[in-house]
Symmetry: D2
Subunit: 366 residues, 4 copies
Amino acid sequence: MAEIEGNAVVANALKEQGVQFVFGIVGYPVIELGMAIQTAGIHYIGMRNEQAACYAAQAIGYLTGTPGVCLVVSGPGLIHAFGGMANAQVNCWPLLVIGGSVAQDHEGIGGFQECVPTQVELARPYCKYAARPASIHLIPMHVEKAMRLCKYGRPGVSYLDFPGNLLTTLVPEEAIPKQYLCPEPPLIYPNPRSIEEASRILLGAQRPLVILGKGAAYSKAEREVRELIENTNLPFLATPMGKGVVSDNSTKCVASARSHALQKADVILLVGARLNWILHFGRPPRFDPEVKIIQIDINAEEMHNSIKSAVAIQSDIKPAVAQITDILKAKRFNFGSDKQWWKELKLKCDGNKKGVEALAMDTTPL
Amino acid sequence: MAEIEGNAVVANALKEQGVQFVFGIVGYPVIELGMAIQTAGIHYIGMRNEQAACYAAQAIGYLTGTPGVCLVVSGPGLIHAFGGMANAQVNCWPLLVIGGSVAQDHEGIGGFQECVPTQVELARPYCKYAARPASIHLIPMHVEKAMRLCKYGRPGVSYLDFPGNLLTTLVPEEAIPKQYLCPEPPLIYPNPRSIEEASRILLGAQRPLVILGKGAAYSKAEREVRELIENTNLPFLATPMGKGVVSDNSTKCVASARSHALQKADVILLVGARLNWILHFGRPPRFDPEVKIIQIDINAEEMHNSIKSAVAIQSDIKPAVAQITDILKAKRFNFGSDKQWWKELKLKCDGNKKGVEALAMDTTPL
Amino acid sequence: MAEIEGNAVVANALKEQGVQFVFGIVGYPVIELGMAIQTAGIHYIGMRNEQAACYAAQAIGYLTGTPGVCLVVSGPGLIHAFGGMANAQVNCWPLLVIGGSVAQDHEGIGGFQECVPTQVELARPYCKYAARPASIHLIPMHVEKAMRLCKYGRPGVSYLDFPGNLLTTLVPEEAIPKQYLCPEPPLIYPNPRSIEEASRILLGAQRPLVILGKGAAYSKAEREVRELIENTNLPFLATPMGKGVVSDNSTKCVASARSHALQKADVILLVGARLNWILHFGRPPRFDPEVKIIQIDINAEEMHNSIKSAVAIQSDIKPAVAQITDILKAKRFNFGSDKQWWKELKLKCDGNKKGVEALAMDTTPL
Amino acid sequence: MAEIEGNAVVANALKEQGVQFVFGIVGYPVIELGMAIQTAGIHYIGMRNEQAACYAAQAIGYLTGTPGVCLVVSGPGLIHAFGGMANAQVNCWPLLVIGGSVAQDHEGIGGFQECVPTQVELARPYCKYAARPASIHLIPMHVEKAMRLCKYGRPGVSYLDFPGNLLTTLVPEEAIPKQYLCPEPPLIYPNPRSIEEASRILLGAQRPLVILGKGAAYSKAEREVRELIENTNLPFLATPMGKGVVSDNSTKCVASARSHALQKADVILLVGARLNWILHFGRPPRFDPEVKIIQIDINAEEMHNSIKSAVAIQSDIKPAVAQITDILKAKRFNFGSDKQWWKELKLKCDGNKKGVEALAMDTTPL
């Protein structure tokens, strides 16, 4: 009867849950875990500092929707990853961090790199889910749950803690229960009445603006958003992480008139972006105090933050944008380039572009 | 130029955000706040122990959707409320707790009932939102946000902390900014493909069961759920907090055959209920290992917990149930009382009822 | 080969570490633990609310130096004890709290009264030591450490968490290692140069005052403190918890002139008392801004808090007071009742006593 | 009437409390604070990563007894310092970390690098003291307390949090209260009866060993420890951080026979060292199960950890070692090099040295 070790149970569970990349630094007690991960057919990228490892791992999750894993040793190994974990959590990027920890019979007596409070406690402020599986049999369940929680709803960070003695526990292979593969996250659809209200407001806008945020990128709503922009000729801006959903080279992009567009817009369709410091909190003097915000966000708790939205649409980006586009198309809405608002924006764009070009051509030594 | 005190600013903000009931115990430093709350026209109910005050306040929020407030003094006053806060948070009931705290110039030197860690830190594990407004001007914003966060998404608890010196600060009335009224929470709708898949599974069920949880009650989906039950003749059960959505006296209620119904059902429509300990985690031997669960829940992170659902529908209860009903009606689906499953359930119900009646009539002294 | 259960291992460990009294409320999963505790010969007092149980248990610890135990169930059971734990921790009273918690295979899936964050995390802010023994073999070590940590240095609170499955684990009796009995706490002695400096200041005082705090009571320094007071005729006051170290009936007690004594003293010997809110932070206008404080405290971190002491003596109360007494006796120091300061204090005392007596004799109906 | 800004108040307070070195990375909102620190005459060392800055700053504190300061920006700036803070806290090294944080009117609305939980909460697990001064007037008090707490008792870490708006607040200079300079930490002396007992055990030892830890180094007990070793001819070892208290070149140093010395010693005088993983927890098979440990430590809570000491002496290292030396000298104790134990140790040392030399001379390519 073949036996299996904790290390292999963790590695297999990661593989089964679709993990493709692990970034980390190995050392006691996760050296053998690093090997087991490679044996399981997962790419392992050795780094020099857990800080960088954790920032790297989260980029994979944002780009692909499948969380990368950051693997760290106990104590400082984990703590050095907290910067990356905090970043992923705030950025709403899916990430799974796995930390080795002191053998449990060394707890309370000054074990090697023992943490008090425990590593699970220290990690929790940066996590949606943080746990230590209580036995080898529970590892597949916790790995699936960690993957599920970091991907579902608003994405974020999961942390799993593995004491050294758990990783080296041996049990018969058949003692490890099979765990289901974490299904794709559920999609939520918008309230139709909110979609109608949003469309009504857009139809009446004099100085409309679309702002694309990272939520639009993460939900892979490129097709829907581009169709909206192309069909309506609405001017748009992107936040730094929202770039690429529609090309900055689009004639509808008013990035070169950003300040003016934000300040003068009377209706803003906010697509997966937050009215936080990056968007000046949506407040005067950077925004018109009378601006009507149509907010589309996956997260209820993000609604009406800082200022009150005219319409708050909790939904995945794709169906919400598609439904608005459908209504606007049915109304044959097109915000023509001959509108006063477009003329203003174009003028600002041209002026700003010329200024930048002049600076770029200025060869005067500094 | 009239001046206004912190106490009145807090009381007015609560009133403006729709608070109708405050349960609490006053003492230093919230005596005057208790008075200001009554002056503002809010019902104040004086209690004898913060523990009970907090359990009482949360019931109001669950029953009405408008959070009750629990008002406590510093130190032990707040800590005695943690039992209630934990309960509300786990139960997903909206609740706002307001605590007075030590004057800030007494922090660090052993102030009266000073807490280290601070009260905000101590309260945070039981909260969706916990904050101390940094100045009197920020009070209306934090009160609105606290109300909003405890109601939006999955409901829960907010805590606001008011140092004694903040409550007695005086400023000109016009220095206090107006804050918008927290709008009603957004409604989320189901993914139509999930609704179709759920309907397809229900149509093919041999031993279907509907389980009604507190989510159905909190979303006030009585009309939609009753229509589903009446139109389909599906047998149903309610969790303790899900009772009343459909009357236990309904002929469709199989509460008297609960164990059998759970164990033998091949398809379960789970309506705002969790597969936690109350429902035996949805696992064998209390459930059929092949049971197909159709899960409707407002919270993505609740999906596939403990066992994998066949269909996971993240949605407000009302539209999801209504859409399933529409499809079943269109298919003229009716799960006739002559079905083998109904006969089994009725037999069990009758047997169990007779047993209970016999016990009730047994006048043998114990 | 006889087997032993986790419950008995915990109970035996408590008994071996000298626990005599347990206050608690039993329920799942600590019913059998309550029985095992009684089987082990420990007094068990059943209470009606964990809040009261925890306040009761800590009084035993303060009065006897041997911690009482508070036994609670999971979830609300533990959280209801936090008020008492916070009080014991702030009061520097030794206390051990024992909580049952959810079986570990129910963690993460909504176990009965499961806490997220875990109970150890929730308890930690109120503790010097909080831990969950990882296996039955580690229980005696953690019980000893919990007892040791709550008694050593500045006393406080320990918490131990026992999942239901750990309490019902069975192992051969001889598999449980023997653990040493926690020795009596070490005693620390004062820096002789600080004692000399303190004595020099006392010898030169015009309006000296001794303040007795709970540290003097807890260290059982009655003999040393009474010898100091008797030999020197110094006026003294006690804080509420410092009462009884010297009788309030002593002619040296100036409790009836408290405000005047605090305000006018030029030298204060602070014996195991904190200059926190109870003593008005040692600051004007309740104290002379030029007052010289001689601070005796077991805890380094308590020194110079709020105001700077003239001499800070970190020591157990007994040797520090005895050494000062020895020096003052050698100098034949006696602060005669004919001193101006004594006359003032007596006059104030007499006036205040007369006022109180008049009030007491006033039979006018209210 | 001259005004002073928060930045200058912080810088002046640091200077007044004796801070000489600040390591950090500036950025919003601490750019001006970095300048103010230099204006105040404190050395500022600009680093490239807060991780390294924090490790550097703590080395200063350990070497000089005067804490270095680590200055960081908000959010990731602070979190990157947690590795260093955890290290300093576990190592018992004094360190003060100062972090800028988001302006308070941006709290709750997604301010730049805003942390939820707050920075004070995130930092607290790594700190003895963590606080945010509530107003500019309270800054000098909190700076003194932070310095005091990180130095007093067992040293560790303090964290102070300064919101951007607090740092730019302007008040009249005379509104800032003067704060006393934090006095040198109190010294604690040993219980004379424990010293006698320790001396009695040493006098009877057949295979004695002295182990020097970082506590001996931090307390600057070189003179006392060298006098002990010289007068008694006792063999000694040093932990990695305890090296240099007595030179490794001393003929009494048995570092080359470390394993044998630990395993065979019958009495160990443990001078400011912990029986943690570095010393194999003081347990068999690395130690004799009957070994008698004489433990000298400043911290009561360190006593009897892992194994029970024969004598636990809570004291500063200097007086405890000096008093033992005095007794041993009075008894004319000298553990002669002709003792069997010394012969064993010398034999091991010589053997191990030869082995190492042979390796060093081995020029075979690897």
